[in-house]
């Protein structure tokens, strides 16, 4: 079960494909390493799906889910999983990922990425759900580490240890969001080195980079700023320890011109190429 991440994305920098850029991307076909789209935005048919399928003709696509709620105590939504399965069948993405978080309890849904206690019981629960999702999709899932604003006193292991166990027991891969780790370091005092050491490097299939904002001293993962200098520094460290992987620039609020996103992606690309030498 402990296989390397099987991501078919090219090992270069890509960008998040968001609605304000759909037309420009399809009209001008800029040189993008690959694109990532939020799975739920393409459930159903019509214009959204057809836009993604057109993009798919020119770029490798990663489908990134925000709604599966892998750690939710409620039963996994079969409707949601079926919709994702259908989307994967149509789009044939190079990668499929979800977050290590919960979003539903007692029938109430929180359309957010919420943290949970990293207990052994929660691990058993998430293991069975990741295994089920992978079985239904017939492919490996990348699971992304979360940015958090609170941590639970009942946790019995670190997030890095939790992910390592999850990989060991399900064969899933890891989507390592470097900015999320940085947010947790600043907010919760998480030890970045411990996280990097804890997760199995071979299972890391993708990196995410994004900008945050600050509210009352709390770093909030808003994806509405350029990547912070400290996050670039942490990314370089991660590259050095784990090696280059397909890297995504995420930008979801106050979305800038496509050229700004591409310039950010280029910064990641340069760091990956500089690091290639240390892994050559």
């Amino acid at each position: 079960m402990n296989s390397p991440a099987t991501v078919a994305l090219p090992c270069v920098a890509g960008i998040g494909l968001r609605a304000p850029h759909y037309q420009e991307v399809l009209d001008t076909l800029p040189k993008l390493g690959w694109v990532e789209a939020h799975s739920e935005n393409f459930f159903g048919g019509g214009a959204p799906l057809n836009t993604l399928l057109k993009a798919r003709e020119h770029y490798a696509v990663s489908l990134h889910g925000v709604g599966m709620g892998l750690a939710s105590p409620d039963q996994l939504s079969a409707t949601h999983l079926d919709a994702l399965k259908h989307l994967c069948d149509v789009v044939q993405p190079a990668s499929v990922s979800e977050h290590l978080c919960w979003n539903t309890v007692g029938g109430k849904v929180f359309n957010d990425l919420l943290p949970f206690p990293h207990t052994f019981a929660a691990l058993d629960h998430v293991v069975s759900r990741v295994a089920h999702v992978q079985e239904v999709l017939g492919r490996q899932l990348l699971v992304e580490n979360l940015s958090s604003y609170l941590s639970f006193t009942s946790s019995e292991m670190s997030e890095g240890e939790f992910l390592a166990e999850l990989v060991q027991r399900t064969g899933c891969g890891i989507l390592f969001d470097v900015e999320n780790l940085y947010v947790n370091v600043r907010n919760l005092g998480v030890d970045a080195d411990e996280f990097i050491r804890a997760i199995p490097a071979h299972a890391v299939g993708e990196y995410h980079l994004a900008g945050f904002s600050v509210r009352d001293g709390c770093l909030v993962d808003t994806h509405d700023h350029p990547v912070h200098d400290d996050v670039w520094t942490l990314y370089e460290k991660v590259l050095h320890h784990i090696g280059p992987r397909p890297t995504l620039i995420e930008w979801d609020g106050d979305i800038p011109a496509l050229s700004v996103l591409m310039a950010e992606a280029n910064k990641a690309q340069q760091r990956m190429e500089a690091c290639d030498e240390c892994f050559a």
Partner: protein, 257 residues
């Protein structure tokens, strides 16, 4: 699992309710636990508010951004989310607006919300290829009455005592802004053609017949019912008009009665 359920239920209550002592969380952060909860509370409301604004752009234009924020806040406090897909959120806005006192001076708002929700659902509806007209020629005339027409998943009908089609058109990029509210009601047909959602007016007899078809009546049954109410109803023209709009995706033959 039960411990996880219990702890997350408390956390859920923190997000939905007022600030309260929460021993669940590590208090050693350099900001208070209440600030962390407030971030989640803001995310919760903000995401639902964005979802409403995305589904109801005309309502937002009609009432203005500031009033819409207040309206959204009031709606969200009464209506939680039941789907992990944000595009499913906000179906009850039309019903909510019927009883929403601050918006009573805009009596058409509730019907416009119903129309916008139909357009929103149409935009995300699953794909289905339109029926090729030639297939009708393969049906023996004596079978016509038993046809069960399959309607495109993006197709909806919304009836109103107000000119909602005109109001909708006025808020499209090439719209005009001279609407006589007293001109009476309109029935809107929402359809999606080449991935574009459009709204057009149906006459009363067309809508009566179409509602029958959408309820699963066979062609003969629906037509008889409509002719009873609207003797001038023109079946052939209506059938072909709706076909040209991509309303039909298929047909099957119902059991002979």
């Amino acid at each position: 699992m039960n411990a996880l359920h219990d702890e997350l239920s408390v956390f859920a209550g923190n997000i939905l309710g007022a600030a309260q002592p929460t021993p669940l969380f590590d208090a050693s952060t350099h900001y208070t636990t209440d600030i962390g909860i407030e971030v989640y509370r803001n995310n919760y409301r903000g995401n639902l508010q964005d979802a409403l604004a995305g589904a109801y752009p005309i309502i937002e234009q009609l009432v203005g951004a500031e009033f819409f924020r207040r309206l959204a806040r009031d709606f969200i406090s009464l209506h939680g989310s039941f789907s992990a897909n944000l595009f499913d959120y906000g179906a009850e806005l039309s019903d909510f607006l019927m009883g929403y006192a601050p918006a009573h001076s805009l009596p058409y708002l509730s019907d416009m919300a119903r129309l916008e929700w139909a357009c929103h659902r149409a935009y995300f509806a699953v794909d289905a290829a339109p029926l090729e007209l030639v297939r009708f020629t393969q049906v023996a005339p004596e079978e016509y009455a038993n046809l069960l027409l399959h309607v495109h998943p993006a197709c909806h009908i919304v009836a109103s005592a107000f000119p909602i089609v005109e109001i909708w058109q006025a808020h499209q990029p090439v719209g005009t802004f001279e609407i006589d509210l007293a001109r009476g009601g309109e029935i809107a047909l929402v359809i999606r053609q080449d991935d574009v959602v459009t709204v057009r007016e149906l006459t009363e007899d067309e809508a009566h017949w179409m509602n029958g078809i959408m309820q699963g009546q066979r062609l003969g049954e629906a037509t008889d019912a409509t002719l009873n109410r609207h003797p001038a109803f023109d079946l052939q023209n209506t059938l072909l008009l709706l076909a040209s709009l991509g309303v039909w995706t298929d047909f099957t033959l119902g059991e002979l009665s």
